[in-house]
Chain length 410, copies 3
């Protein structure tokens, strides 16, 4: 019955327009989102440098599912459902921690870092521990980014890996460390949070801090762009070509996007003065002015890779009208706080921008609740919202068992 | 299925008794209330003097529907659904504000004060702005009171207008200004909030501040009233007749009520000392002792018109167990705060009374939740609750498509 | 449809294992819990000494049902649904209070302490007050413990009464007084709160304060116990036999449990130093070292009876993921605070233990929400959880109209 309702909503949808109301506000559709999207696709969990040593772990919640991501004794990143096989207690309770073995805090069943149960005190003679391993979650690591998948049979990530690695690898994310993390909750549907991020049509009036350095254009040949931008673009790409840094849009279709774009003239980083956020550059870079690699992957993750720092953004849905946004700033592993970088200078642009975007998404959500809301047309500069909603409609079409409804954009 | 359930609940209902439990506590019935009542009938929004100049606006939320009421360039009051035709953001974000044009905070689409879209930056050549006006909401202004209706075809307000105008017009509400507003949220169903207001059976034990000046009786010939009251009534009506001020109950049926009743001996206003709340009298009045015009209209609005001030009460449902009450005090437009009136002296009786009523409604709600709750008989002094619940049952009967169940009161 | 779903969940259940996920987290199953368990079975309300004099009352909420327990003029404990027969207001508003008669705060209908309506002011001539008594709730008092039952036909309590009276009566609960009460809310299903209480498998790692004095073993012949415990047990039972205090496990089946067990060597009470919590012993006791009578009764009540104090624990479900725990400490009626006992010394062990258990239950609840949660096997020391869940499954089987599914434990 829910699937029929969703099929009906998909029939109403017109590509190139915002989604019909119930996709954004209905709690039942939200449950379908979790099953159709968040329990089937690859999700960004964290950076590998957040869990550098064996036993380091990080927890997150995908829908109602508590997950723990950790580094095992072999140094590999693995993930498990964070629910004990005895009576279901959460095992790892902190957001980030370290454990020699995973010991359930309730009755101290002990699991190896590979998820196998190695001790269950007081259980009777003949109790078969091998039947009670932690349920595994699939993991892929791409350029320091840990992706997890809760599906039994995860889809392939290889096209994505091949597409983004050339852009990201030169920033050497493995040689970074966490400088700061921030988690906020927005009273808005997760798709409104993503749509907000996928366009800069709203930037001019809302993001004074961001626009110090960021150009509003999403493509080298943006039709809205002025001649001045073309000059900046040409000078930048010439320099990047000389450094053999890729910059043209990757061929990610509606699955992912990866591109290097310049900062405004005389600015080199996401700071309120446009100056570098960290004096120690990433990897082997000697040049500060590398613009930023902007990378997005459905359903919920965007990132910036600069000469001096990396920022990861992770969106997790809580309910139809609540969404968590976690932001992580990485700098060179040898950078010294207070010497090479200042946390406030490093983070203030995106702390402010996240807060501004949160208010925009919340106002959007409240307006979409209206029975007078009608899906409206995306502007040309919102082309990535057409990509995102087409992708989403495809996932929901798969979920409800109707063919993907690809409606030609007007 | 919900409609069948509601029809079943209506069948259980006995006129002259409080409603069956689920009408007060069930979230699905609440959704039906919004559709059957709040999205079809006229609702009190505000006073015209809250938005005196072109571009002044006031926002409210009817169920999930954000609404903006504003004065256009021609000086007329108009209203729109406060949701942008681009991607649905709320446009006006403050409770009261002023705008030369309505500019959406998200991507700055610009609407004229008549709701027409006059600029949508970056939209492609040939984009037809005329197809993207704000969705209008019907407006009627009666003696300075702004009523709105979300229905496509609003019912007639003319009987109401004709009925109440003679009582209210002499108080000249157009020549007032806002002295104070208060908004509180009560953890009770909106109908319990209205029922609480529609009787003074509870006043003696609960409203010491109110009973300084207010008589507990709702009709000139109240059978509970003492001889003393009859004397007060006779003297008052003689004086009002001499001033040509109407006072007898208007013929509003179960739709509305309008009547002028005296204050207690030696009191003339809703103050803790019974003295005037404002020395500058409304309109052309020279006589302080005019009692008060008590006006109520279904579903959710009551008002008092005195010689020296006006009070509007507006109830808005939030969920089955949460209700917002907004109260507005108006005084003569030339009255000077601190000279002619003191805000605390003006407002303390109804601030206290609202708070006391809020607790009564909350206790009522918690008791109605009991499976042992049985609809009980209204007392004779609660005759207006019979009117209200009969009216409500009629609206719900229309909604579920069964004939109006008019059950004779015992 | 809900009943069919629950029947399906019961079919999945394996005795000796924690319950299938939805029994713990689903709001609809929670409503069934209220109807199947809390509105049919006997519930612990309070101690008689909390309402010592005629007119003393105590209120509680069973699901959505507000209840008032009071002592009538004859000195008997009676209970009523705390909802007025006029328009349903709650009548008694405080958690504990005293009233000569029950007067509804809304319109002052007056009820005698036997629930009969004796005055309804302003009601018309011929109004039949006898038709508007408060709805009664069944009450049984067993050794100072007040049990209530909301069912029309309550089940028999006689087996329970006969079983526990010999253990409890010597502690003379009628000659106690309240020293302290505490109420906390845990974000966990009520059954997880009960399961947490029914085993001490989790004690060693989580309850340093409790294990000062409490032995972790639940039976005299606990197979986990060391020889040392057997010595303690033998010495204790010899002493109790000499005092004619019963100690062997009562034959309560899965309905109740009653047993006397010793404290650790050199400790005699639930205190952080193991010393007595109150110098004035209960009843006619002269011997401090009496261990404690541990008494539990389904669905929601456990208790400790010591030489120097009594503790009652009452669990009330609020929603699928919220549960209230109320704890009451009783000491001899002649004990003087600050002289014979110190409230902090008396309460700190169980205040700490309740708080620790609350966190364990909350972590358990969050982990059970996972779709990877699988019911796991109870350890031998968790045999009381098998009792509890078998009992619960029987109640739910009755509710959904399928035969009691008694599945043999592995
Ligand atoms: S729930 Fe993990 S050891 Fe018991
Ligand atoms: S939502 Fe209003 S301009 Fe975009
Ligand atoms: S509700 Fe109790 S007297 Fe009216
Ligand atoms: Fe933004
Ligand atoms: Fe009142
Ligand atoms: Fe415990």
């Amino acid at each position: 019955m829910l699937k029929e309702r969703i099929a009906g909503l998909l029939d109403q949808r017109l590509s190139g327009h915002s989604l019909p109301r119930d996709f954004y506000v209905d709690e039942q559709v939200f449950q379908a989102d979790i099953e159709a999207v968040f329990e089937t696709d690859w999700l960004f969990a964290c950076s590998t440098v957040e869990i550098p040593r064996p036993g380091d772990y990080l927890t997150l919640r995908v829908g109602h599912n508590p997950i723990v991501v950790l580094r095992n004794r072999e140094g590999e990143v693995v993930a498990f459902h964070n629910t004990c096989r005895h009576r279901g207690s959460q095992i790892c309770l902190k957001e980030r921690g370290r454990a020699n073995r995973l010991v359930c805090p309730y009755h101290q069943w002990v699991y190896e870092l590979d998820g196998s149960l190695i001790n269950a005190r007081q259980m009777p003679e003949g109790f078969d521990t091998s039947a009670y391993s932690l349920a595994p979650v699939h993991v892929e690591v791409i350029c320091g980014m840990v992706y997890i998948c809760l599906a039994d049979e995860p889809p392939s990530l290889e096209r994505f890996r091949a597409g983004v690695t050339p852009y990201i690898a030169p920033h050497m994310p493995d040689r970074t460390k966490v400088a700061f993390t921030s988690t906020i909750v927005e009273e808005a549907n997760w798709k409104l949070v993503i749509e907000n991020n996928r366009e800069c049509y709203h930037c001019a009036a809302n993001h004074p801090e961001l626009l110090v350095s960021m150009v509003e254009f999403a493509l080298p040949d943006d039709p809205q762009a002025k001649t001045q931008f073309q000059g900046l673009m040409d000078r930048s790409t010439a320099r990047w070509d000389a450094l053999e840094l890729p910059h043209k849009p990757a061929d990610g279709g509606i699955e992912f996007r990866c591109i290097r774009l310049p900062f405004n003239e005389n600015t080199v980083s996401f700071t309120t003065d446009g100056k570098p956020a960290c004096n120690k550059l990433l990897g082997d870079f000697t040049e500060q002015d590398l613009g930023s690699v902007r990378m997005f992957r459905v359903p919920h993750n965007w990132n910036h890779f600069l000469s001096d720092h990396i920022i990861h953004f992770r969106v997790l849905p809580i309910s139809a009208n609540r969404t968590e946004l976690r932001t992580t700033w990485l700098v060179h592993e040898d950078a010294v706080e207070g010497v090479d970088y200042d946390v406030e200078h490093l983070t203030e642009v995106w702390m402010a921008t996240n807060s501004e975007d949160g208010m925009l998404a919340e106002n959007n959500h409240r307006g979409v609740l209206s029975r007078a809301y009608r899906p409206g047309p995306y502007a040309p500069s919102e082309f990535m919202l057409t990509h995102f909603t087409d992708w989403y409609a495809g996932k929901m079409g798969d979920y409800v068992g109707t063919p993907h409804r690809a409606v030609a954009a007007e």
